[in-house]
Symmetry: C2
Subunit: 438 residues, 2 copies
Amino acid sequence: MRADLLIDSARGILVCDDASTVLMDASAAVADGRIIAVGPADDVRSQVSADRVLDARGMLLMPGLVNLHTHLPMTLLRGVAEDVDLQGFLEMVWAEEARVMDPSGVELGARLGAVEALLCGTTTALDMYFHPEACHVGAASAGLRHVTGPVFFSFPGPDGLSWEQRMDLARRWPDALRSIGGPHVPLALMPHAAYTVDLAGLAEIARLADELGAMVTTHAAENDTETADTLASRGMRPIACFAESGILRQRPVLAHAVRMDDDDVSAVAGAGASVAHCPGSNLKLASGAADVVGYRQRGIPVGLGTDGCSSSNDLDMFVVMRLAADLARLLRSDPAAISAADVVRMATLDGARALGMGERIGSVEVGKEADLILLDTRVPHLTPLRNPHTAVVFSAGRSDVRHVLVAGELVVEDRRPTRVDVPALLAAADARVATAAS
Amino acid sequence: MRADLLIDSARGILVCDDASTVLMDASAAVADGRIIAVGPADDVRSQVSADRVLDARGMLLMPGLVNLHTHLPMTLLRGVAEDVDLQGFLEMVWAEEARVMDPSGVELGARLGAVEALLCGTTTALDMYFHPEACHVGAASAGLRHVTGPVFFSFPGPDGLSWEQRMDLARRWPDALRSIGGPHVPLALMPHAAYTVDLAGLAEIARLADELGAMVTTHAAENDTETADTLASRGMRPIACFAESGILRQRPVLAHAVRMDDDDVSAVAGAGASVAHCPGSNLKLASGAADVVGYRQRGIPVGLGTDGCSSSNDLDMFVVMRLAADLARLLRSDPAAISAADVVRMATLDGARALGMGERIGSVEVGKEADLILLDTRVPHLTPLRNPHTAVVFSAGRSDVRHVLVAGELVVEDRRPTRVDVPALLAAADARVATAAS
């Protein structure tokens, strides 16, 4: 059969299915943006006639990473707030972003963040920020599968929009998404958090999600102060607010979920909601440590996220995988608390499922869209390579990502983004920050 | 004045002195292996006449990283033991190394580890392993400043040596070190741990250290089982064994020091001993979390180490810096528990001081040997760059290391080791592992 691309003779393929299958000396073929063959190198080579062959000898092929919680435009705010907790951080960041982040700043920051993410092997990101059209234009133009949507506060916020304007933006979001284009993504609505959106607002968003068929994501139970603020202003804990308002019935992606008590965990598990675990941000801001092993035992799907660069300082999902594995072992005092294969699945298929895209992306299987990355293992820090999953979690890093495909398109080739002039982008980002600071 | 090398117009220099000085748009000059000038780019350029100029625009210059605890030859054992605690790990690893690690395996593994370390920005390593001559030949040949020495057990161990043979090896170590050559390093003696060397043996090593003027390093208080085993076999905790035997008077580098009680901390602080904090290994093996903030408050110098690749799976000191910063914040529930600048100093000057080399390496200051690294910041994940110290700890990684000098020699240039044929080295490592496994 005809293929656009044959990825030939990979050292190994991490399929990232539920069985954590690894195929050694294997190939994959792509046509019309989808995976059409996966298997032993000789078999695939004999099955397909490919327009182009990518020599994958010495490389590991795996699904692109799914960053389940980030704020890409905040890449421009990297390093603004250091050595402060979540609330101190928010004060410093909100002041800075009100000054820097008009729509053109958002578009620039989202493009910068998308390029960084792609170079780090991330092919899909769930991204919450103001000015979602500008944000989506910036990130999708770099080739990222970029899931975003209107963000909601019960007060004006840095973008100055009223509640009615936010609802109006949300109703127009399907048209906006269509007109901007880019790889397929679900519609998403993004209430900021239970302490920043009141119960009536949350209920209205839940109804709109039903109406539009949109997914929902929100910050949830990030640290103790957030819980205390929510209790004080709403009379209940964050997860209870989401349950009470109907948000939880939407099976939202709950970012952070560090501070959940037993009732919270039961409610989240019962609703089928997912958690976006962000250990880099949680540790750096001293928010605490989410017990993801416990959540998974209770049936809550857990994906991984970086959070924004203003709190975690980069968009490196390899660092997040390593932190997630290490933190689970520390919390549980158990070196087998979570396997490397489970961590890799959290960063791929489990994240895709949380987005409702588990049938479409997240593993290297025939029929799925070709969101794929290739890691070059011919380096000292991956030699010898005994176990591909532990190599990915405990030895590999962003610099090992050599090629990246999104929906079959090579958006990073030999470590270079194909759609973006990187030196010009970096110069624009530096200029933007300097101008805003003057 | 004449210089061998002018490192011209760095974006910034992280001096890594006690004040954590940062010089922006600055240069440094090197002659005869030492730093002869550091300062504003225009000043240095006008002062020196250099045989060679290294264009450092867009780069951060900082001291090479000091890995204060590792086992370089175990790089060949990467991935041998996964999802097990320290004791399970030791059983699996000791069996494998008895099979693989003859002197030629040790030399090969040490060379592989040294190349990985240099590429990750490490210029000095305190390295404990069997067959120290072979180990030193392998690592020093790659250009690493490699501190090693005879290791001691009260039983034969994988190398099959008797106690008398170990003591004899130690007495001959100064001559061996001289004949092998390489950058200056101190003499070192390496009792493995208090549960593997009895009190009489420790006392004999302490006397020999006095006799030779050697430094001492040992594993100490790594996890609960080690403490229990030591209590059972020696009737006292590990730190008490070192105090009782005279080892602590040698101001040793204590690797791990995860499980220290108040008496232990007082004894270590009082003796002026140092801790080699290895968060990557401690977390992966679920050994626990060393309270380095507390240790530092009590006056204990703390450096950073990776441990061997069989437990932490790579030799990346950037990952270790990030883990150290994150873990301190989690343990202390305080996002200001330790600053990025302090973490960078732990990985440089504090490590150098623990080795007794604080006057010789560890900072970018005139008179010191030129152990220097250059990080190229012209990449998305380091843009914008507001704070060089937080950039190094929370955003940079091994792939940003572009040039590495040890004692003034460029041992990594444009990301390529200058003394080693890397493809041939990787092939030899893979062959060795395959042969040993058959």
